[in-house]
């Protein structure tokens, strides 16, 4: 039935389009949905993706930039040569599709484990750490005067939010307390320069093909802040999927990523990157706790969510490896 509404929408803005077929829901929770579908066109079908909040779910959670901002960022990224899907249309209220946008579908793989194991990506893998450095540098250079309204974040502000989230779980974890103390003691202060920060740039949010990164997805946590945050987050062990000694998403070394970043004309502060890696590890741990809480209290009583609660201990061992490493 979503096909009827999508058909009415596409014929209005996609010249020559006659309707849509093959609409299928991909993922997402109650408040945000992703659908794939094909636009029927005399020149052949056009692969498309709909990202939307259905009607009645308009209000974005406090941290999310909102779908309109996300569409704007992806469009800016696309125009600046950051691998990104082309945004085709931003939904309007009279279309009865909720709020969100439609983008061109980029073929490739997003499932991290497949990118790390399948033969198809064997040639791309050794290039990815350096490529990611270059992509992040271009992303951090996006012109600030064209950006949508975004939150300004600093490390101190994020630590405060983590602490509030963690305390609200009533889930005493000595390792998390240790990490919170460490973060407060090692906060490098506000960054000299504030740039766009993607906020969730990691293996799992990239479309990768045989040639490397084809698109950066999930801009909903974008904000303004310390660009080193993105470089630290992509190194969090949870996104290495078992490739312990390849910190950049399981693909390669920090040095390769830094070289790619600097080759694209931006400077790296390795100490800040390390700080943000600790921060990111704790962030994912607290998010696992949030999943546990929603499993207990919310309508989503799924086994998957329950099991994510049991992954907090993975971040505890990773925090200990960072903060209290044992001898070789």
């Amino acid at each position: 039935m979503i096909e009827a509404e999508l058909s009415r929408s596409v014929v209005r803005w996609c010249e020559g389009a006659t309707g849509v077929t093959a609409a299928a829901r991909l993922s997402g929770g109650a408040s945000q949905e992703t659908w794939r579908f094909d636009i029927e066109h005399p020149d052949g079908p056009i692969g498309a993706i709909l990202r939307r909040s259905p009607r009645g779910y308009g209000a974005a959670p406090t941290r999310a930039a909102g779908l309109a901002a996300e569409a704007r960022l992806m469009q800016l990224a696309y125009e600046a040569g950051v691998p990104s899907p082309r945004v085709m249309h931003v939904l309007t209220p009279d279309e009865d599709l909720g709020t969100g946008f439609i983008m061109q579908r980029v073929e490739g793989e997003t499932i991290a484990r497949k990118i790390l194991r399948d033969d198809e990506f064997a040639a791309a893998r050794p290039l990815l750490a350096r490529q990611i450095g270059g992509v992040l540098a271009r992303l951090h250079k996006l012109p600030q005067d064209k950006l949508p309204e975004l939150r300004h974040m600093t490390a101190a502000k994020e630590i405060g939010e983590f602490e509030r989230d963690y305390r609200s779980l009533n889930w005493p974890k000595p390792v998390f307390e240790l990490a919170l103390r460490w973060l407060r003691d090692h906060d490098p202060g506000p960054s000299d320069e504030e740039t766009l920060v993607h906020g969730d740039f990691r293996n799992g949010n990239l479309i990768v093909g045989a040639d490397g990164v084809r698109a950066v997805l999930d801009w909903e946590l974008a904000h303004l802040g310390d660009p080193m945050e993105d470089l630290g987050w992509v190194c969090v062990n949870s996104w290495r999927f078992g490739e312990l000694d390849k910190p950049v998403g399981g693909f390669g070394s920090r040095e390769e990523m830094f070289a790619g970043y600097e080759a694209a004309g931006r400077k790296v502060d390795a100490a800040r990157v390390k700080f943000w890696e600790v921060m990111g590890t704790l962030r994912w741990g607290i998010m696992c706790g949030g999943m546990m809480q929603r499993f207990r209290e919310g309508p989503d009583h799924s086994m998957e969510r329950a099991m994510i609660g049991r992954r907090a201990s993975e971040t505890e061992i990773d925090l200990l490896r960072l903060l209290a490493p044992r001898g070789e």
């Binding site: 005493p172 974890k173 000595p174 390792v175 998390f176 307390e177 240790l178 919170l180 103390r181 062990n237 290495r240 078992g242 490739e243 312990l244 086994m303 998957e304 329950a306 099991m307 049991r310 992954r311 201990s313 993975e314 505890e316 061992i317 990773d318 200990l320 490896r321 903060l323 209290a324 044992r326």
Partner: protein, 125 residues
């Protein structure tokens, strides 16, 4: 005292049935969910097997560290508070060892195939 088979044996029997007899019959999203279900039962079996021993050892360490008595939950809460206040830190004798041991015992139940855990386990040997 309850009769046997034990909860560990019962849980394992269900996990084996789902794994061996049902998995081949199912595909797609349901197969994914079934894998999660089997993983949960395996986790429960590991916890039933190890929890008593690891909790007792953890309490012993916590009593020594904190110089107080209480349930394992109370003692963890007390340790968390002392770390938050800065009264206990990595320079405190025994803290790092305690956190490492406690965390290793959790991973042994939660995710024994996690790469960081396997790396650290090989260090213990």
């Amino acid at each position: 005292m309850q009769d046997e088979p034990t909860p560990i044996e019962l849980t394992k029997a269900v996990a084996d049935f789902l794994r061996n007899d049902i998995t081949p019959l199912i595909s797609g999203h349901q197969a994914f969910k079934l894998r999660v279900a089997v993983n949960i039962l395996d986790l429960v079996a590991r916890q039933l097997m190890r929890e008593e021993g690891s909790d007792a050892a953890e309490m012993e360490r916590l009593r020594a560290l904190l110089g107080m008595d209480g349930s394992v939950t109370d003692l963890n809460r007390a340790l968390a508070e002392r770390i938050a206040k800065g009264e206990v830190d990595l320079a405190t004798p025994g803290l790092a060892e305690h956190l490492w041991q406690t965390t290793m015992d959790k991973l042994a139940v939660d995710q024994p195939s996690y790469a960081s855990y396997k790396r650290e386990l090989s260090r213990n040997r």
